[in-house]
Symmetry: C2
Subunit: 256 residues, 2 copies
Amino acid sequence: MNPNPVPKARLFIEAPLSAGALLALDEKPSHYLSHVLRLKEGDSVALFNGRDGEWRATLQMVAKRGVTVQVAECLRPHRLPPDHWLLFAPIKSGRIDLVVEKATELGVRGFGAVKTARTVVGRVNEERLRAHAIEAAEQTGRVEVPELFAYRPLEGWLHGWDVSRRLVVCDETGSGQTPSVALPPHRGQKAALLIGPEGGFTQAELERLRALPYVVPMTLGPRVLRADTAAIAALTCLQLHLGDWDEKPAFRTTGA
Amino acid sequence: MNPNPVPKARLFIEAPLSAGALLALDEKPSHYLSHVLRLKEGDSVALFNGRDGEWRATLQMVAKRGVTVQVAECLRPHRLPPDHWLLFAPIKSGRIDLVVEKATELGVRGFGAVKTARTVVGRVNEERLRAHAIEAAEQTGRVEVPELFAYRPLEGWLHGWDVSRRLVVCDETGSGQTPSVALPPHRGQKAALLIGPEGGFTQAELERLRALPYVVPMTLGPRVLRADTAAIAALTCLQLHLGDWDEKPAFRTTGA
């Protein structure tokens, strides 16, 4: 028998993780492991909780009332992705789910919805977004889940802004700078990306933003991009110039 | 009355476009203009056919059997986006539709599906992909629609490859170079991006590809990206370093 078998799934859980701990999993992960993946006693999974890194755990008991696992060894230490946020005017639910999934894969540390003058979507289902972020974090190999900030108006975000965090505004009027100019390479630079609503920012909002010393307006080429495309493309630019893309991929922990 | 009103829609059509031409639109665009957008006689639309640039046209007759338009002046000349292709192992339909939409917005000139050893999706609905590409081209302000190449095996693509076209292989094993190294800035460089299937390329495929003089293996950071995320992020890198993102957006032609 292989003493360190490859984990057959990656799961985010809330409980503390340490060597030898016995954990009774909740109903949902129990169902997923026993009925969807059909894992058996002795199979390995990888667990992370956003604080203690990633751990291998072994299924001890697969019973009707749930799955119990025993935590074995630490596979990877805790780490945070680059300190980049994605702030976006909410869009319709399928597209916002997609943005959360992609932003999590691209290594955003936190994201939050912004109410602007032309925002038409009134409500943001934060529970749903959090579930998408967890699923994407499991899939992409993160050892934590991006933080989800509370929905608030643009002015609420700007009030008390940490001026050392660059605010990169995707300016679809074309008055911004190209990504290479807007984002000179600077690994470790704190940044937040702001994506406006489908109808764009108002002139007053753009003037307000452009006057702020920490704001950098950025233009993403000659074509009109949907809000979700702009978010994904701009996050890629952030990663390229300010992020951790000079690192190699972590080992794959799923047996797929 | 404004002599040059802002077009209220952008449509791709097949017919030739020239000043004064009278065109009877097909059933689908007729329905869209008259029943979905509820345009009236005298309203303006923008038309493009992939050969003659973009033209303003005025609705002449909105009747039960269809809409007739008269072509007015040319709004923008014909142009092609950077000579970049996206080659991808087919993935499930929702995700492939998304990739076609985003790739069109990001300015890909052509795309095609590739059969690899681990490709599990056997059929590619080219008509459906073409419809998505047309819709995205209308939305994003292109004056043409990206070309859709026939589905074929990897070896079929490599056979007779134009060696002046760089083949950028998204290598999720981590042995590729970072985008900045893999894609030194070179506006006008012909390129194709190759994205493997969900299970990745086989070792034999990777060795075959890496041995080719025009292949550049590229790694997109330390996290595991889904195939669709990798395609969108890698196309963004291509645009940044080899494409036209130093240009400003074209004027918006929709009245929205």
